[in-house]
Symmetry: C2
Subunit: 506 residues, 2 copies
């Protein structure tokens, strides 16, 4: 093929991909509006509209035209001659094409219908603490996962195929030892914390905190941390999230608890971690599927890094403590920074994952990981779940849910078949600790910068090493380039050990 | 063709149209977001996205597939067997198809580029009072209108072809006598008002009005009037507008002037008039191009009716006066309802159309109508515009703009080629008066209802006669069915004469 006609084909492919990506952007905007602004009566029409445009998006990503482009551009000599962005774009499109095409359309359609029903049934079941009514739906969801894995194929472990959707390249073989380390060390550390006599009063954290003051303070902090409000905005939604229309328009949401400022503040810093990642992806990648975080785990590493490792650190509050006292003068009157720091880091085994502290959070994930793996390996059955859930809660956290609603029914994830997603939350913590370890070595004044409220050097370092690349580097590549190794949980457990030993005088 | 295959074809056509309409909905949402919520840096990416999706929308409405559907469904026996909604849908799609297809794509593209440039040049020209720099662009815009009219075709008058885009069926032959009546009677009435010794102090209207109080009061009033906030929302934008995603999601915007509550309040009632129309279109029409106001003029009749004939009437303030005094107690202290009513209806010749009172507004429109018609008839040249504009201002309003920025350069409409649009503003007033005349006869307690704040019977009457039909009836059909005649300006001039004679003791 001549260079000229090759160039023409590449341009046409890139144009096609840009159109496909445009549908994704439009869907993201319509979803954002649905979740933050749409009036109640408009929900039904919006859902229909989302269905129509999702269908168009799906058609573009699985069309014969796409197949033709992929076949032509994957031809070895042709592929070798492509620029790196187009090469990666071809590979991403191929992955999506194959994942979609391998499932017979009628089976996928059946799954979509089931998932929609399961979502409603789950809501009811949770509200009425009625696992039995949810069980047959969850059984079918699991059956679909097993069926889809057969279509998609797998090597060593069926669960790997699910993991790969959220964390490309991640395997059970890699995860098992990491998660065993986290589980064992966390359980041990938790035992010692629970036995520690060093406990302080934290009741000042649960009193009336004016919502307007919470919002103003949260905005102030995240803008200082580096969220660019000229390329984003913050709104209220039931479930906080971060969504990207372009690196120049990355929006976050939060929710306010009038009796606890931590929900909004740390939620905002968490979403800001996601948003800073997206705002700093190179605009060269805009209009391709590469203009996105490289994996859920790496994405979560950034939200967790900014929320916990920075936002819940002592240097951070050395900088912001006078500000928070100014924001809530009566509530924090007479509270020392030490007591405040202890309060926002207090460890308490609790039933609900999304309310868990930095240490016990990972134990909630371990329970879900172990259950998911065993379900996909067909070693346990859906009917066993409430019992297994409660046993593991007892074993790892020392408490047993009073109801299934506060236990196995608490999360939405399984209702839409998102098996393999939960592990990325703890992977985020693992990666965050690994990356922070290098960051601290290279920015030797790391803690001093945070104490001084100077976040730009940290952000710039992360931009240079992670953010700018989008999906140009796989998570393993990225991690290896930064740390010289793959996922390694020892940095996380060391960090937790050190942090909580100091707080609890262990 | 068998009934079964005919049914199948109709279903496929309706599905195709629904998809096309879905793009329109998505575009409306993306536009709303751009104008109310989008961060500054996100504007460029959004404009690109709008371009991509507009292109897709255009392709669907002008595709070979659409041509096939239209040809098959227009076949007389086939067409006769269609249900009324599908029949009207075919006619609407045909209209759009032909309008788009008749212009060579390269000429349309050239026009789009020119209009984008002209918009920027106009902004600069207005800011610097520099008509000369805008003139060559406006000349080209007019040339394009003339060229497009040749493609589209025309019968009696070239300008009819432009009018028909905004007011289907409207002609110069119909408009000329109506507008001559409005112009002559309004000029005469204005002369008598200016000569009236009965003038009152209105300085209480221009003082500091707290924006939050303005917003609360505006929301209160429009909800009472009938805007359904469960099927809509109100936000702030530079230029107020109403936009519809579905009858279940019709949004309005406003802007606040901290020194004049009238901008927001009457702006809100105006947009509410548009919104009540859209919220009450039959859901049977949703997913077709018929789920929309039937014309700009009829749409404007509803915004003007609610804003001026209801919102600026004495019965309306008999009901709301205690409320407005409660909202602005210091500003309205000692102001009688009569003085207030006079103030919000004061007639003052002014330079800027969008700030004009109910009477002089139409004179601003007459100037634009006469100029547009003469330009399209090639009786005047763009270069003559500043002089002609100022002459007509002098003749009709008795004042001459100090600058072109406050004269011929004030409106954006010509920059994007919207010739034929301006007349619909005054047509709205004409229609509103005609419809109100019947409404008052049929709801004999009309004024008492307004005084009692009972707007539901009025809204229901309008829903039954106008709103529910969407585009199922043409503007002329609709008007004839309600009033027994076509557009007739005498009701408007009678209404204005009566209202302002009372206010100014003429």
């Amino acid at each position: 093929m001549s260079t000229a006609s090759q160039d023409k084909r590449v341009a046409a492919f890139r144009e096609y991909v840009k159109k496909m990506v445009s549908y994704g952007q439009a869907l993201a905007i319509l979803n954002w509006d649905l979740r933050t602004k749409a009036p109640r009566k408009g929900v039904e029409a919006r859902s229909e509209l989302l269905g129509v445009l999702s269908g168009e998006h799906f058609k573009l990503s699985t069309s014969d035209q796409m197949a033709e482009y992929l076949q032509a551009l994957q031809e070895p000599d042709t592929f070798a001659a492509l620029d790196p962005i187009t090469q990666k774009t071809v590979l991403e499109c191929k992955k999506e094409y194959e994942r979609s095409k391998k499932i017979p359309p009628d089976r996928f359609q059946a799954f979509v219908v089931l998932a929609a029903q399961a979502g409603s049934v789950w809501e009811e079941a949770k509200a009425h603490n009625d696992f039995a009514s949810y069980r047959p739906y969850l059984e079918k969801i699991v059956q679909f996962q097993l069926e889809f894995i057969e279509y998609w194929g797998y090597k060593d472990n069926k669960y790997d195929t699910l993991l790969d959707m959220y964390e490309p390249g991640m395997t059970v073989a890699q995860l098992d030892p990491m998660f065993a380390t986290i589980r064992d060390k966390s359980v041990n550390l938790l035992d010692r914390i629970m036995a520690s006599p060093h406990k302080r009063d934290t009741s000042f954290l649960t009193q009336n905190y004016d919502v307007a003051a919470q919002e103003a303070f949260s905005r102030y902090v995240i803008e200082r941390v580096g969220y660019d409000f000229k390329a984003g905005r913050m709104d209220v939604s039931v479930h906080p999230f971060c969504t990207t229309f372009a690196p120049t328009d990355v929006r976050i949401t939060t929710r306010f608890n009038p009796n606890d400022f931590q929900t909004a503040l740390f939620g905002c810093i968490h979403e800001t971690g996601h948003a800073i990642y997206e705002q700093n992806i190179s605009m060269d990648l805009f209009g391709t599927p590469l203009c996105d975080g490289t994996s859920m785990g790496i994405h979560e590493s950034q939200s967790r890094f900014w929320e916990n490792m920075v936002g819940r650190s002592l240097p951070f509050w050395n900088h912001f403590y006078t500000d928070v006292v100014k924001a809530f003068p009566t509530q924090l009157e007479g509270i020392s920074i030490d007591q405040f720091y202890y309060g926002i880091n207090e460890v308490t085994p609790s039933l609900i994952r999304i309310e868990a502290d930095e240490l016990t959070y990972n134990l909630h994930i371990m329970i879900r990981y172990e259950i998911e793996k065993a379900l996909i390996d067909q070693k346990i059955e859906v009917g066993d779940l409430p019992r297994i859930w409660n046993e593991k809660m007892k074993e790892y956290l020392g408490i047993v849910p009073d109801t299934d609603a506060n236990g196995v029914l608490q999360d939405v994830h399984w209702s839409d078949g998102s098996f393999g997603y939960f592990p990325t939350y703890s992977l985020g913590n693992v990666y965050a600790a690994q990356i922070a370890n290098v960051l601290k070595k290279e920015l030797s004044d790391y803690e001093a910068l945070i104490s001084a409220g100077e976040f730009t050097p940290i952000r710039e370092w992360l931009k240079a090493r992670i953010y700018q690349y989008g999906k140009m580097k796989s998570p393993n590549e990225l991690l290896h380039d930064i740390t010289g190794e793959l996922g390694n949980a020892s940095y996380l457990v060391d960090y937790l050990e050190k942090k909580f030993s100091a707080i609890y005088h262990l």
